[in-house]
Every structure is written in structure tokens, then in C-alpha cells.
């Protein structure tokens, strides 16, 4: 029976191949080609443009290990990624829970829209809006001073918290969506069964709901952690001078210093480190779930 099904699906796959071809072609052109070009660049002394001399070298990779600045920045970026991911869990998971299990009908749709809205707005607009809110004499400062009796100065602009706020705001919808999907798939009768067996709401959350929504948490964390570690826009605009991270250094190599080979090498080191971290973390997290 199972064998029959397997051969059946294999037979069904063959007519589908021409249909899949454009997708594979697109993947090759859009991802594989540029990526292999970058791999190529990362082993060069200079860009092969305008007749410049170039040769193969491992120097770009060696630079990462010879200058402690890069590994320090990478460490800072990893920490940033971890912190932003944690905040996204803290904010996104309860929001997803309320969306999936508490709200019904119209109010659910309305809140859902509010969660998705940042997705649809331009990233730069979003970040500059935060700049208006966080700077001295900005919206947050003015509002707090209007409410509080004594004069205080709030200027979060160009600080580490500002970077965190901006990044969390950009990425929290991923966590809400992935967690919402897994939470919604959990039948309410499981929660009721737990309660009827004598478990408090908190015990049901710990023993049933969180373990069952672990796939959503892991997916959300991966979707957030990876781009945040390489992020440069939020750190640069909201962090100012404190906003130097691994991602901003890579960006500098491409747009300011024009040292593409070094930028490419640094990118691949980041990719390798992130993949190793995800590879190590996934089984641990899954076992926790």
C-alpha cells in the first residue's frame, strides 16, 4: 500500500517537472549565480573591473582572524540578534496567543491587520518614524513631559536601546505570524482536557501549549535571528555612532570602501557562523519542545 503510494506520487511528479522548471531556473539565476559570483569575489585581491590587476588570495578570510575588531563586532551582532529574538518572543508570543485563542471574529481581524501593517510599510519610513519618536524633543519626550509633573529628558536616539526598539518593531510580526499559525492549530479541547484533569491555566500553558507551539517559536526565531545578525539599516540610522555592528561593516565594504572581496568574505563567515548556531540550536530546542 505504502509502496504503491510512493510509486504513484513519483509517477505523478514526472508530468509536473516542466511546470517546476521555471521555478528552478529562477532559483538558479536569482540565488545561485549571484551567490557563486560572491564566493568567487571573496577569494580575490581586487574587483576585476576597469582593467584592475587581481589575483587569488585567502587574505580576505585571514583578515577576519587577524583583526580582533571583526570578531568583536560579530559577537556584538550575535548578541544583538539574540536580544532582539528574545524580545520578539516576549512580545510576539503573547500577542499571537491572544490573537489565536482569546479574540474572535472582527476584533481578531482588526488586530491582525495592526500586526501586519508594519510589514507593508517601507523599512526606511518605519525607521525614520522611530527616529521622530525617540529623539530629544520628539514624540516620546514631549508626551512623557506633558504627563509627568517633573521635567525629564528622554533622548533614546543614537543608543543601543533605540536599535533594539527599531529591530524588534521590524521583526516582531514574523514571530506573531509563525506562533499564531501553530497556536491556532492547537485544538481548544486540549486546553479544556488539561484543565479538567486539574491543571491550572499556567500548567496547561507550560506542559501543553508551549511544547505544541515550539515549531512556531523555532521558525520565528530563525526568521528573526538570521537577518538581525546581519542588519545594518536600523543600527546605522537609530544607533548612530553606537550602531557599528558586523552588518554595518559589511555594508561599508560594499558601498563606501568598495572592497567587495572583503565584504563578501565577511558575509560568508557570518553565514557559516549562523548556520553552525542554527544547526546546534535546533535539536536542543526541539528536545525542549
Amino acid at each position: 500500500m505504502a509502496e504503491q503510494l510512493a510509486t504513484g506520487s513519483r509517477r505523478a511528479l514526472r508530468p509536473a517537472l516542466p511546470l517546476l522548471l521555471p521555478a528552478y531556473l529562477w532559483l538558479t539565476v536569482a540565488i545561485f549565480l549571484p551567490l557563486s559570483a560572491m564566493v568567487f569575489f571573496s577569494f580575490m585581491t581586487d574587483l576585476p573591473l576597469a582593467g584592475k590587476e587581481w589575483a587569488f588570495t585567502l587574505g580576505n578570510y585571514a583578515a577576519f582572524f587577524s583583526q580582533s575588531l571583526y570578531s568583536k563586532l560579530l559577537f556584538a551582532s550575535l548578541r544583538l540578534g539574540l536580544e532582539v529574538t528574545l524580545w520578539c518572543v516576549v512580545i510576539g508570543y503573547p500577542a499571537a496567543y491572544v490573537l489565536a485563542k482569546v479574540l474572535k471574529g472582527r476584533s481578531r481581524e482588526a488586530i491582525f491587520l495592526l500586526v501586519i501593517l508594519p510589514f507593508w510599510s517601507n523599512g526606511l519610513v518605519r525607521i525614520f518614524s522611530w527616529a521622530m519618536v525617540l529623539r530629544e524633543g520628539g514624540i516620546l519626550d514631549t508626551t512623557l513631559n506633558a504627563v509627568l509633573p517633573s521635567k525629564i529628558n528622554i533622548d533614546l536616539m543614537y543608543s543601543y536601546p533605540a536599535v533594539i526598539i527599531g529591530l524588534v518593531h521590524s521583526y516582531v510580526p514574523y514571530m506573531v505570524l509563525t506562533c499564531y499559525l501553530t497556536l491556532q492549530a492547537i485544538d481548544d479541547s486540549l486546553i479544556e482536557a488539561g484543565r479538567s484533569l486539574g491543571a491550572s491555566r499556567l500548567q496547561v500553558l507550560k506542559r501543553v501549549i508551549i511544547p505544541l507551539s515550539m515549531p512556531g517559536l523555532i521558525a520565528g526565531a530563525a526568521l528573526i535571528f538570521v537577518p538581525v545578525v546581519g542588519s545594518f539599516m536600523e543600527p546605522r540610522i537609530l544607533g548612530g555612532r553606537t550602531g557599528t555592528f558586523y552588518g554595518t561593516v559589511i555594508e561599508d565594504q560594499f558601498v563606501a570602501v568598495f572592497n567587495w572581496p572583503l565584504g563578501a568574505a565577511l558575509s560568508f563567515i557570518l553565514l557559516a557562523v549562523v548556520l553552525v548556531i542554527l544547526g546546534l540550536a535546533a535539536p536542543v530546542l526541539r528536545r525542549a519542545g
Binding site: 479541547s189 479544556e192 488539561g194 479538567s196 484533569l197 486539574g198 491543571a199 491550572s200 506542559r207
Partner: protein, 354 residues
Amino acid sequence: MAGVQVANVSRSFGAHKALDDVSIDFPDGGFYALLGPSGSGKTTLLRQIAGFDFPDTGRIAIGGESVERVPVEKRRIGMVFQNYALFPNMSVADNVAFGLSVRGEPKGTIATEVQRALDLVQLGKLGGRRPHQLSGGQRQRVALARAIVTKPRVLLLDEPLGALDKALRVDMQIELKRIQREIGITTIFVTHDQEEALTMSDRIGILRDGRLVQEGPPEEIYDKPQSEFAATFLGDANIFRGDATGNGIRLPDGTTIAAGSGPSLAAGAKASCAVRPERIQISTGAGTSEAGYANTLRGQVSKRIFAGNNSTYFVDRDGQTLKVIVQNTGAERLAEGQEVILRWSPESTVLIAA
């Protein structure tokens, strides 16, 4: 163990009254079936007793203790859901252990109790499996073991056998009844299957549109239904409508039907009579009738359905089709189209107020 008292409970959802002034006394240690069509409020009533939902008005007591303000987890009930609701992230044994472990029982106690519960439902060897590796019937048994391992005061089951196929359902009915007897737990069993209600329970409560229509032992409801709905929902019945005469009714064509039981009604009031199909004797009129079969009607067989051990005759008379079930005794069978005489006793006839 404890009985459950539901007194004058009402619950509305918006303008819709899901429960309308329902009062039922569920006896200690009894097996009580809540029977009713879909949407009649069975689940809603069960949820009030469990504490998943709260009545607008009325009182609920378990073991004499009022539970209106007691949350689910403190009511000490066991619940079996129609979809089983097993925790997919846990093994069978961990599912069963859940109730004991949230209470903080020692590990050793949990292990013995879980094994005993699994043995009781005859799944002693499957503790290590995951729920998705079990068949429907096995999942149902795990759900039952999980619900009773905590020694609840009341066992609540919401159409627990509804998702099983016929043969398995009959097995599980017997099994469930055996387990219930063995531990003697007060059981409230929701079903829309009248046969299940009849065969399993000590008492039946029939719900319709959120109201309790009738309640009592199965035999009593079957033999003495108090409404046309009760008569036709629990078993089959032929219903005659007419005017009350004092000891029965007069049909529009003048025929009188004598009833042996029912309320005393003023003569002339609108009333019905109910007769079970198996209580009616059918003959061509040639033979003699048994004494005491005072109710007589003439008709014509319009259809016969042979079912092996019995035959069902549909007999047309005066615009009405009556149903008669005859045991297969080897006697002569009647053909479709044949003129027949139907006879039955007043004792088999119940008078019902309209």
C-alpha cells in the same frame, strides 16, 4: 463519588436559549444518558457541570457541594471528549499521568496508578506509544483511562463513541459499561443515538431546544412517553391525533382508540395516542384475535421490508401510514396491497396531551 444536582439552570448565547430552566438529579454511582437531537443543548449542559462555561441562572452541586464558583480544575471531574483530545506531544503513559503529575503526586505512585488505569482499559502494553500511533478505539480507551486515573467524583462523556464505526462502537459500549460498574463512578453520558442511550444507561434525560422533555429509567420513557417528541425520538411510534374521550381519543373519522395509561384529560381536548410498532398485531381478518385487543383498525399493506428476524409492514389507512413490526415466527407473510386488520391492546397505548 458523588451525585450531581442541576437546578433551574438556564444559559443563553445572545438571544438563543441553549438551556432553558433545566433541572436534573443525577444519582450517585448511576449511568445517566443525556439524549437529544443535535443543537438541543447537551454539550452546553455538560460544560456547565464541568465548569468550562457558567449558567446565567440556576444552581449546580456536585456531591452536595455547590460548585458555581469553583473553577474546572478544582471540581474533580473527569471528562472524555468526542475528538479524544489526547496531548499529541506526550506518550500514552504521559497522557494518562498528566492529571496525577500536575497534582504533584510522587513518581512511584504515578507509575503504578497509570499502569493500573491502562490495564483497566486493556492497553497495558501500549504506554510508550504516541497518540497518533493508535487506532480510534484505542485512543478512546486512553482518553477514558486519563479521565478516571485521578479518581474524579463524576465522569462526563460527550458523544465519546460518535467517531467510531458501528462494530467498534458496540464493543466500546460494553467496555465502557463494564468499567463504569467496576469503579462505580457517577457517569453522565451525552449521545444523540437512542439505541446507545437505551442499552447503556440507568436513566435517560431527553433534551429538546434546551428544555428537559422527560426523564426517567429507559423502560419508563419507552413505555410511557409523555410527549410525541419523546415517543418518536426514543424508539419508533405510531401517533394518532384526535379529541380526548376520557379513556382514549376519537379520531376525525369517528374511530375510537382506548389508551391504558396517560394523563386524565377533559373530554374534547386535543390529544394524541402513541403505539409502538411491535405491539400491533396484523392479520387478514380471517383468523380470530386474541382477547383484550380492543383497538381495531382496517388498512392496506403498502410496503413490506424483510429484515430476517422480523418484517416491517407499512399499512395505509385514512391518509396515514402506520408501521407494524412482526417477529419472524414462520407464520404466513402478508403481501403488499393486501387488506389487513390491525389490533392492539389499550395497555400498549399511551395517551399524550397535545
